[in-house]
C-alpha cells in the first residue's frame, strides 16, 4: 500500500532504508510513537518485523507478526480498517510467516504463494519473489504499493542483469513527489545507471546521489554503515579520493556489529577500487584475499577469477 507518510512513519522508513535495523527493532512503536492513522501504525510494525527478519531474529519476528495479525483483525472489527485492506494486510502477515518457515526450515508454502496476485504490487509479492527467486514478478503499475513495485523492479534487474532505465523511476516522481523510497531508488540509480555524456542533466546522477547520501550521513538519525558505504561509492564515482579516504576512516568508527554481509561485500569492492586508484597494491591484495574468502561465489569474485584466467591465457599466448 502507498501512504503519504506522516513524520513519525517517515522517520521509520528513513531509518529502514538507511539500514538502521537494530534501531528500528529497539523502538517501542506503541509508546514512543503517536500515529495519526492506524494504517501508519501497522505499516511501522511491518518495518519493525522486516528489520527483525533482516537481523535473522525470526522468533521475535513471529511473535510480532502474531500480535500484528490480532491488531489488524481487531481494527477491522472496529471499522478502523476496511475489510479489503485488512485482507491485504493479513496476506502480508501470512507471507512473512511463511518466509520465516522458509528461512528456518527451508519449506515453501506453495499454496499460499500461488494465491498471491502477481499483477498487484504488495509486500506479500515482494517476499514471494524472495522465496521463489526463479519467478520474474513484475506488476504492471505502481498503484496500491509503490514501494513493493520498485522493490520488485530492482529484484528483476538483479536477476536479469539488465539496467533499469532511471527515467521510469524519475517519471514516478511526478505522482509520488514525497515518496522516500523513490528518493532512495533515484539515488541508487544515480550511481549505478550508465554514464552518458548528458547524464549529468538527469535527476539520477552521481552528484545528486552524493548530495542525498551526504545529507543522510550528516544527520544522526540516518547516519549508518549502509549510507556511509554508499557515500564512499559516491566519492569514488565523483573522483573525490581524499573524501573517500575520510569516509573509510569514518566507517571504522561506525558500529559494524549489525552490518549485513551484503554491505560488507559492497564495502570490500569499494575499498579495492579505492586502493587500486591510489596504487596501494599491498592493501588491495589483502582485500582481494578477504573477498575471495568471504564471498567465494559472488559475481565480483567470479568475474575476477575469469579475468585472471583470461590473463593467464594472454601470458601463454604471447610467450
Amino acid at each position: 500500500m502507498y501512504l503519504t507518510p506522516e513524520k513519525e512513519l517517515y522517520t521509520v522508513i528513513q531509518q529502514y532504508y538507511s539500514g538502521k535495523y537494530a534501531e528500528i527493532v529497539a523502538l517501542d512503536l506503541d509508546t514512543e510513537f503517536d500515529f495519526s492513522n492506524v494504517l501508519y501504525d501497522i505499516e511501522a510494525h511491518f518495518y519493525k518485523i522486516r528489520s527483525l527478519l533482516l537481523l535473522e531474529n525470526y522468533k521475535e519476528a513471529a511473535e510480532f507478526l502474531a500480535d500484528l495479525e490480532k491488531r489488524i483483525v481487531s481494527n477491522n472489527e472496529n471499522d478502523l480498517i476496511d475489510a479489503k485492506t485488512a485482507q491485504v494486510l493479513l496476506t502480508d502477515v501470512k507471507v512473512l510467516n511463511s518466509f520465516i518457515d522458509f528461512k528456518k526450515l527451508n519449506s515453501i508454502d506453495n499454496e499460499l504463494l500461488d494465491s498471491i496476485d502477481d499483477a498487484t504490487p504488495s509486500l506479500a509479492l515482494v517476499y514471494k519473489g524472495i522465496i521463489k527467486s526463479d519467478q520474474n514478478l513484475s506488476p504492471s503499475s505502481p498503484d496500491l504499493d509503490l514501494e513493493s513495485y520498485i522493490h520488485l523492479l530492482f529484484a528483476n534487474f538483479a536477476s536479469d542483469n539488465k539496467e533499469i532505465d532511471p527515467n521510469t523511476i524519475i517519471g514516478l516522481k511526478n505522482h509520488y513527489s514525497d515518496s522516500l523510497i523513490l528518493d532512495f531508488a533515484i539515488a541508487w540509480l544515480g550511481l549505478s545507471a550508465p554514464t552518458t555524456p548528458n547524464s549529468d542533466q538527469s535527476v539520477a546522477n552521481p552528484k545528486n546521489s552524493y548530495y542525498f547520501f551526504d545529507e543522510l550521513s550528516s544527520s544522526a538519525n540516518t547516519d549508518s554503515v549502509k549510507n556511509a558505504i554508499n557515500l564512499l561509492a559516491c566519492h569514488l564515482k565523483l573522483g573525490n579520493v581524499p573524501e573517500a579516504l575520510e569516509v573509510t576512516e569514518k566507517l571504522k568508527t561506525l558500529s559494524s556489529a549489525d552490518a549485513l554481509p551484503s554491505w560488507n561485500y559492497s564495502l570490500l569492492i569499494n575499498k579495492i577500487a579505492l586502493n587500486s586508484i591510489t596504487s596501494n597494491t599491498t592493501e588491495r591484495e589483502e582485500l582481494l584475499t578477504q573477498i575471495e574468502k568471504n564471498y567465494p561465489a559472488s559475481s565480483y569474485v567470479n568475474d575476477l577469477k575469469e579475468k585472471n584466467e583470461l590473463f593467464d591465457s594472454i601470458v601463454s599466448t604471447y610467450n
Partner: protein, 1181 residues
C-alpha cells in the same frame, strides 16, 4: 558615458545654477557675477546676458511653456525674465533675506520660493501670465494646451493685488515653520504639495488648498543643513541631500526614512531628477554623481516548460508562455513580503515543489522569502510564506535545498525546504555576490574573479579572471556559460576555460542564448550578438532598454522596465550566416545567400576578412570592390572583366601580378601590352619561348630606335647578325667585329674591317675567343606553351561552383563533414599535377610510409583499432562497459572495460610486448579501480548493484570511458624511485621504475601535456633502470675483475641521472679509477664531479684526486670507455655500441641493444621484445 562635451566660460566668478530648456536647444545659468546668461547648445556660445540682480544669483529655471526664466538672488528678489525679448518682466519682492531658490509650478501659475528669512513663499503669477498672454489664451510660445476649466475660470477672475497694487505676482502663502533659513522648496508634480529643506536640518512637507497652506509634517534625520530637496517624479518619495554627506529618501505618505546613501568626505549641495529617465544627479564637494534609486530590471526566471516567471512593477508574480506568447494573470502579490521601496532583485523557481524564492534589499536590509505558487492562477493572491530570513541573494541549488548569501557576514547558508540551515559555509571576504550555476553549484562573484563553487563539497571547481562580473547565462545545451559585467562578456565552457572574451563600449544589460548557440545581448540601446569566435554585430536598435530573457528563432523575448514581456522580431540571418560560415556548414551558407537579402558593407568586409571573398563577390556590384574581391579569391576572369571596366594603371598592375603568380600568360601579356611594358613583354616571350613574338618585339624596338631594347631582344632571340648590326649602328665597331669573328661570321667580320679601314694585322683578339665555338643563345625549355602555364587549373571553391549553379558535382554534406573542402581540393590538385612528375618517387612503398609524420601513424592506428573493436565481443558486457569498449582507443581504456585480450593485443602491436606476466597487477589494478558496488534492498540476496566509475574529464568531453588510475601517482612514484636510489636500495628502486613503465603503458590520457609528461618520465625510468642495473652488475663482480669493474663504474656515469644522483656514480667511478691507478680517468670523473658540486667534503676529496691524478695523468688499466665520443650502452651486455654500429631497440623506451640481442625480452622493461615491431605506445584516448 560622462564625457565632457564642452566648457562654457563667460561667467565672471562662480556659477551657482544651470537649467536646460525642456524643448529648445538652450540653457540658462546664473552666478556670483549677478548675471543670468542664456546659452545655445548648438553654437555652444552665450546668446545673451540678463542683468538686473544686485547680488549672487542662486537658482534659475525655465518655465515649462512660456518663454520665461525665473531667478532667485541674494538681493532678496525673485525675477522673471522673458528670454525671447530678453527683458525682465517681473520682480517679486517680499523676502527679507537671500532668496535661495525659486521655481515655477509645473502646471499652474504659481511660484514657490525659499529664503534664509526662514520662510517659504508661494506666489500667484496668474496676473503676469494674463498680462503677457494673448487674449485668446494662446501664448507667444506654444499655447496653454494643458489649461483646464478651473484655470480658465480663475483667469477670468479679477487679479489679486499686493499692498503696492501690483497685480503681476502676489504672495499667496507665506509658509513659516523652519527654524532657520530655508534653502530649497519644490512643488509636487501632481499634488498640491510643497517640500522644503533648510538649515534647521529639516525637510518639511506642506499642503496647499485654494485658500490656505499648512505644514503637514517634517522628515527629521539629516544631521546638517539640507540644501536641496525634491519629490520623486513618479513615486511617492521625497529625496533630499544634506551637508551631512547623505542622500536620503523618505516615504511621502508616512514621512519615514526609506534609504540613505552616504559619501565618505563630500557634502551634497543639490539634487535634480531627469525629466524622463529614472536617473538622478547630485552634486557634492568633489563632483556630480548620477544614480538610480533602485534597479529597473524586473526579476525573472524560467522553468523547463517554456515559461518565464517575472515580477511586474506592481510586485506581482506573473507567468509568460513563450510558445503561446500569452501572459498570465498575476499569480501572487508580493507587496507584503518584499521590502517596501526595494525592487525584488532575484527570483528562483523550484519546479519539483512549484515554489519560489525571492530576494530584495541590499546590504544588511536584504531579505529572502520562500513560498509556494498557486496551482491554479486566480489572481494576485497573498502567498503563504514557508520561510524567510536575511540575505542578499537566494537561489535553489537542488530540488530539495536552496542557498542564501549574506554579504556582511560572508555566510553562505544551505537550507532544506523547511528553511532549516543544514550547512553554513563562510566564504572569502571578497565575495560580493552569488549567482546560480549548475545544480549543486553556484558562482561566487569576486572583484576580479568568478569562482565556480560546489556547495556540497565546499570546493572551488573553476576559476576565471574577470572583473566585476554581474550576471551569468548558461547556453541551452549547458555547454557554455556567458558571464556579463558592465562592459565585458566572457564565454567559458563547462570546464570554465575561456572560449571568448569581448569588450562592449555601451553598458551591457542582459543576454540569452539562441537555440543554435549564439549569444544575444542587450546594451542600453541595442540588441547585439556575439559568436563563440568573437565575431559580433548589431541586430536591432532599441528605443528603451530591454532585458533579454529568451531567443527562439526570430523571436527575442525581453522584459521592459515597465515589468512587461515584449516579443521583439529580430532577423537572425546575419549571425546564422556567420555561424554557418565559421562551422563550414556551406549548404546552410548557400541557403541563406539564396533566400535572404543579406547585403551591406559590414557583411562584405566580414566575408573578406574571414577568407570568403568568393562569397562576398556575390553581394557586390561596384567594379573596384568586385575587382579587389576577385583578386582575393584568385578569380582572374572576374578580375579581368572588372579591370577592363575600371581601366587604370594600378588595377592593371595588380591584375598582372596576380596573373603572373597564377601563370596565366594570356592575361599577363594583355596587361603588359595594356601598360606598354615592352621589356617585360620581351622577357615574357623569352620565358615562354615565343620566338615569333620576340622577333616582333625586336622589330618594334628597331622602329622605335630603342637600341637597348633592340639589343636585348637580339640576345633573347640569339640573332647574332642583328646584334652585330646594333653594335655597328651605335658605333661600337670593335665589338661588332669581335662578335662576328667569335661567332664564325668571317665574311661579316672582314666587311666590318674593310668598312672601318682597319688592317687585320692591327687587331689582336684573345686566342680563347677565336678558339671557342659559338655558344649560341639558350632557347626556352618550354617551347610548347603558347597557352597558359602548365599548372592544373585551380578548382573552383565550393561557393564558386555552387553560386555558378553547378550543384551536380557538389556533395555538400560530405565536404562539410570532412572539415571543409580546401584540404581535399589541395591534395587533389597536387596529385593530379605531379602524378607524372619526376620528383615523385614511384617506388615509395608502404613501409616507407611509416616514416611519415605522426598524423599518418595515427590513421593507421585508428584503422587497427577499428579492426580490434570490430573483433571485440561486447555482447555479454553490461551497458556501461559496452560504451567504454566502444570509445576505447588505448590499452588502458580496454583494460578498464575488461577487454584484457584486446588490450594485450594492442600492447603487443604497439610496443612489441610479449611477456605479460609483469603486467598482471597493473591489469587488475586498472580493472578493479572502476568497479564499485552498492546495497539497495537488503531483503534481496542479490540486492546489490554494480557501479562503474567513468572518467569524469573525458565524460565532459563527450567520451564515456572507464577510469584508468595511475597518472596522479606517477610523480610520487618517481620520487619514491629516487628515494630508494639514494638509500642504496637499488633493486627496489628498479622495481619502482618498472612499475611506472607498466602504469604509463596502460594509461588513457586526455591531453598533450599529460602525454609529454609521461614520455619524460619514461626517459627517466629508462636511464635509471639501465644505470642501476650497471651498478648492480658492477657490485656483483668478483674482486679480480678490475677492468670490468672500472668500465661498469664509468658506464654508470654515462646514463642521464639527476645531478645529485650522478654525483654518486661519478664518485664511485672516480674512487675506483683512482684506486686502480687509472689517474687520467680519475681526473676526468673528478672534473665532472666538481662541475656539479664545487664545495663540501666530497668536493674537497674530488679536488685532491683531481690534483693528484692530473700530475700523473696516466692509466694503469686500459678500459673501453671514451667519454668524448658518441656511443650508447647496450642494455644487455653493458658494452658501448659506437656510432655506426647496428643498434636494435625495444619499443616502449627505445632501449638500445647490440645485434645479438634481437628477439629476446628487454632486460630493462622485462616485457617488450628487443627489435620487435611496433608503432609506438598510444597513451591518449
Amino acid at each position: 558615458m560622462g564625457t565632457l562635451i564642452d566648457r562654457f566660460e563667460d561667467h565672471d566668478g562662480p556659477v551657482r545654477c544651470v537649467a536646460f530648456h525642456p524643448t529648445q536647444p538652450i540653457f540658462v545659468s546664473g552666478g556670483d557675477d549677478y548675471t543670468i546668461k542664456v546659452w545655445s547648445t548648438q553654437t555652444r556660445k552665450c546668446m545673451f546676458t540678463l542683468t538686473g540682480h544686485l547680488d549672487y544669483v542662486r537658482t534659475v529655471f525655465f518655465h515649462h511653456e512660456l518663454p520665461w526664466i525665473i531667478s532667485a538672488s541674494d538681493d532678496q528678489t525673485i525675477r522673471i525674465w522673458n528670454w525671447q525679448n530678453r527683458k525682465e518682466i517681473a520682480c517679486l519682492t517680499g523676502h527679507n533675506h537671500y532668496v535661495m531658490c525659486a521655481q515655477f509650478h509645473p502646471k499652474q501659475d504659481l511660484v514657490v520660493s525659499a529664503s534664509l528669512d526662514q520662510t517659504v513663499r508661494v506666489w500667484d503669477i496668474s496676473g503676469l501670465v494674463k498680462k503677457h498672454s494673448a487674449p485668446s489664451g494662446a501664448s507667444s510660445f506654444g499655447g496653454h494646451s494643458s489649461m483646464n476649466q478651473f484655470d480658465q475660470y480663475s483667469r477670468n477672475q479679477p487679479p489679486q493685488q499686493d499692498i503696492f497694487g501690483n497685480t503681476d505676482a502676489v504672495v499667496k502663502y507665506v509658509l513659516e515653520g523652519h527654524d532657520k533659513g530655508v534653502n530649497w522648496a519644490s512643488f509636487h508634480p501632481e499634488l498640491p504639495l510643497i517640500v522644503s529643506g533648510g538649515d534647521d536640518r529639516a525637510v518639511k512637507l506642506w499642503r496647499m488648498s485654494e485658500t490656505r497652506a499648512w505644514e503637514v509634517d517634517g522628515c527629521r534625520g539629516h544631521t546638517n543643513n539640507v540644501p536641496c530637496v525634491l519629490f520623486h517624479p513618479t513615486e511617492d518619495l521625497i529625496i533630499s541631500v544634506g551637508e551631512d554627506k547623505t542622500i536620503r529618501t523618505w516615504d511621502l505618505n508616512s514621512r519615514s526614512p526609506v534609504k540613505q546613501f552616504k559619501r565618505e568626505n563630500d557634502r551634497f549641495w543639490m539634487i535634480v531628477a531627469h525629466p524622463n529617465i529614472n536617473l538622478f544627479a547630485a552634486c557634492h564637494d568633489s563632483g556630480v554623481m548620477v544614480f538610480k534609486l533602485d534597479r529597473e530590471r524586473p526579476a525573472s526566471t524560467q522553468n523547463q516548460l517554456q515559461e518565464l516567471f517575472y515580477i511586474n512593477n506592481d510586485n506581482q508574480v506573473q507567468k509568460y508562455n513563450f510558445s503561446s506568447k500569452a501572459t498570465s494573470l498575476p499569480l501572487l502579490s508580493l507587496k507584503k513580503i518584499a521590502l517596501p521601496w526595494n525592487k525584488i532583485k532575484n527570483i528562483s523557481y523550484n519546479a519539483s515543489e512549484n515554489s519560489m524564492l525571492i530576494q530584495s534589499g541590499d546590504n544588511d536590509t536584504g531579505i529572502y522569502s520562500y513560498f509556494n505558487l498557486p496551482k491554479e492562477i486566480v489572481g494576485a493572491l497573498e502567498p503563504s510564506v514557508r520561510g524567510e530570513g536575511k540575505a542578499n541573494s537566494a537561489y535553489f541549488i537542488a530540488r530539495n535545498r536552496f542557498v542564501t548569501f549574506l554579504k556582511s557576514s560572508h555566510k553562505l547558508n544551505v537550507h532544506d525546504l523547511n528553511n532549516n540551515v543544514t550547512k553554513a559555509i563562510t566564504l572569502d571576504s571578497d565575495v560580493k555576490d552569488i549567482i546560480p550555476a549548475t545544480p549543486g553549484c553556484i558562482l561566487l562573484l569576486k572583484p576580479t574573479t568568478v569562482v565556480l563553487y560546489d556547495v556540497q563539497q565546499k570546493k572551488e571547481i573553476g576559476l576565471l579572471q574577470m572583473s566585476n562580473a554581474k550576471y551569468a547565462v548558461w547556453s541551452n545545451d549547458g555547454q557554455y556559460l556567458a558571464l556579463l559585467s558592465k562592459h565585458t562578456i566572457v564565454i567559458v565552457n563547462k570546464k570554465f576555460e575561456t572560449v571568448m572574451s569581448m569588450h562592449e563600449t555601451i553598458r551591457i544589460k542582459s543576454a540569452a542564448w539562441d537555440d543554435t548557440g549564439v549569444l544575444l545581448y542587450s546594451t542600453l540601446n541595442h540588441i547585439k550578438y556575439v559568436l563563440l569566435n568573437g565575431d559580433k554585430g548589431t541586430i536591432k536598435t532599441l528605443e528603451n532598454t530591454m532585458y533579454i530573457t529568451k531567443v527562439q528563432n526570430s523571436n527575442c523575448f525581453c522584459l521592459n522596465r515597465r515589468g512587461e514581456v515584449e516579443c521583439l522580431e529580430i532577423d537572425p540571418t546575419e549571425y546564422r550566416f556567420k555561424k554557418a560560415l565559421i562551422n563550414k556548414k556551406f549548404n546552410e551558407v548557400l541557403r541563406i545567400i539564396k533566400n535572404s537579402n543579406l547585403v551591406g558593407e559590414n557583411i562584405i568586409a566580414y566575408l573578406e576578412k574571414s577568407g570568403y571573398p568568393e562569397v562576398a563577390l556575390q553581394f557586390v556590384q561596384d567594379p573596384e570592390t568586385r575587382f579587389d574581391l576577385s583578386i582575393e579569391c584568385h578569380d582572374l576572369t572576374v578580375a579581368l572583366s572588372e579591370a577592363k571596366k575600371i581601366n587604370t594603371k594600378p588595377i592593371w598592375e595588380k591584375l598582372g601580378r596576380e596573373a603572373l603568380s597564377q601563370g596565366n600568360i594570356e592575361i599577363v601579356e594583355l596587361v603588359y601590352q595594356q601598360l606598354h611594358l615592352l621589356d617585360k613583354l620581351s622577357f615574357l616571350y623569352l620565358a615562354t619561348g615565343d620566338e615569333n613574338k620576340l622577333s616582333k618585339m625586336a622589330d618594334i624596338a628597331e622602329k622605335r630606335e630603342d637600341i637597348g631594347s633592340l639589343f636585348t631582344n637580339s640576345i633573347y632571340l640569339g640573332d647574332v647578325e642583328r646584334k652585330i648590326q646594333t653594335f655597328l649602328h651605335t658605333g661600337l665597331t670593335p665589338l661588332a667585329y669581335a662578335t662576328a669573328k667569335s661567332n664564325g661570321l668571317d665574311d661579316i667580320a672582314e666587311k666590318i674591317l674593310a668598312d672601318a679601314g682597319v688592317d687585320l694585322k692591327d687587331i689582336s683578339l684573345p686566342d680563347q675567343l677565336l678558339k671557342s665555338k659559338p655558344s649560341g643563345v639558350l632557347k626556352p625549355i618550354n617551347k610548347t606553351t603558347s597557352k597558359n602555364w602548365p599548372l592544373s587549373e585551380a578548382k573552383l571553391s565550393f561557393f564558386e561552383q555552387a553560386l555558378s549553379g553547378n550543384f551536380e558535382e557538389l556533395q555538400l554534406e560530405d565536404k562539410a563533414a570532412n572539415g571543409g573542402s580546401t584540404i581535399n581540393e589541395k591534395s587533389d590538385m597536387i596529385d593530379s599535377s605531379f602524378a607524372d612528375d619526376d620528383y615523385i618517387d614511384d617506388n615509395l612503398g608502404e613501409e616507407d610510409a611509416w616514416d611519415l609524420g605522426d598524423d599518418d601513424l595515427d590513421v593507421e592506428l585508428d584503422n587497427a583499432e577499428e579492426e580490434i573493436e570490430n573483433q571485440t565481443d561486447t555482447s555479454k558486457l553490461p551497458k556501461e562497459l559496452k560504451t567504454w569498449v566502444k570509445n576505447s582507443k588505448t590499452p588502458g581504456a580496454y583494460i578498464a572495460a575488461g577487454k584484457f585480450d584486446t588490450a594485450a593485443s594492442m600492447l603487443n602491436k604497439q610496443a612489441g610486448i610479449k611477456n605479460f606476466e609483469p603486467f598482471r597487477q597493473r591489469f587488475l589494478e586498472v580493472y578493479t579501480a572502476s568497479k564499485l558496488n552498492i546495497s539497495t534492498f537488503d531483503e534481496e540476496s542479490s540486492g546489490n548493484l554494480p557501479v562503474y566509475i567513468s572518467d569524469v574529464e573525458k565524460a565532459n568531453d563527450g567520451k564515456v570511458l572507464g577510469l584508468v588510475p595511475g597518472y596522479d601517482q606517477l610523480e610520487e612514484l618517481v620520487q619514491e624511485g629516487f628515494r630508494l636510489f639514494k638509500s642504496n636500495q637499488l633493486e627496489s628502486s628498479i622495481g619502482i621504475f618498472r612499475k611506472i613503465i607498466y602504469i604509463i603503458a596502460t594509461l588513457s590520457l586526455t591531453s598533450d601535456e599529460e602525454e609529454s609528461k609521461c614520455k619524460e618520465i619514461l626517459d627517466i625510468c629508462k636511464e635509471y633502470i639501465i644505470g642501476l642495473q650497471i651498478e648492480l652488475a658492477r657490485r656483483a663482480l668478483p674482486p679480480a675483475e678490475i677492468k670490468r669493474n672500472l668500465e661498469l663504474a664509468a658506464y654508470f656515469t654515462h646514463v642521464k641521472l639527476q645531478p645529485a644522483h650522478r654525483l654518486n656514480a661519478l664518485q664511485v667511478a672516480m674512487t675506483q679509477s683512482f684506486k686502480a691507478k687509472n689517474y687520467h680517468y680519475a681526473s676526468y670523473f673528478a672534473t665532472e664531479f666538481l662541475k656539479i658540486m664545487s664545495s663540501g667534503n666530497r668536493a674537497e676529496q674530488a679536488r685532491k684526486i683531481q690534483a693528484k691524478a692530473e700530475n700523473i695523468a696516466t692509466d694503469a688499466i686500459s678500459i673501453d670507455f671514451d667519454p668524448f665520443t658518441d656511443w650508447e650502452i647496450c642494455a644487455g651486455d653493458f658494452v658501448p655500441i659506437y656510432k655506426g654500429e647496428e643498434i636494435i631497440r625495444e619499443k616502449i623506451l627505445g632501449v638500445g641493444y647490440s645485434k645479438s640481442w634481437k628477439g629476446k625480452i628487454c632486460k630493462i622493461t622485462l616485457v617488450s621484445e628487443i627489435g620487435g615491431i611496433g608503432s609506438g605506445l598510444r597513451l591518449r584516448n
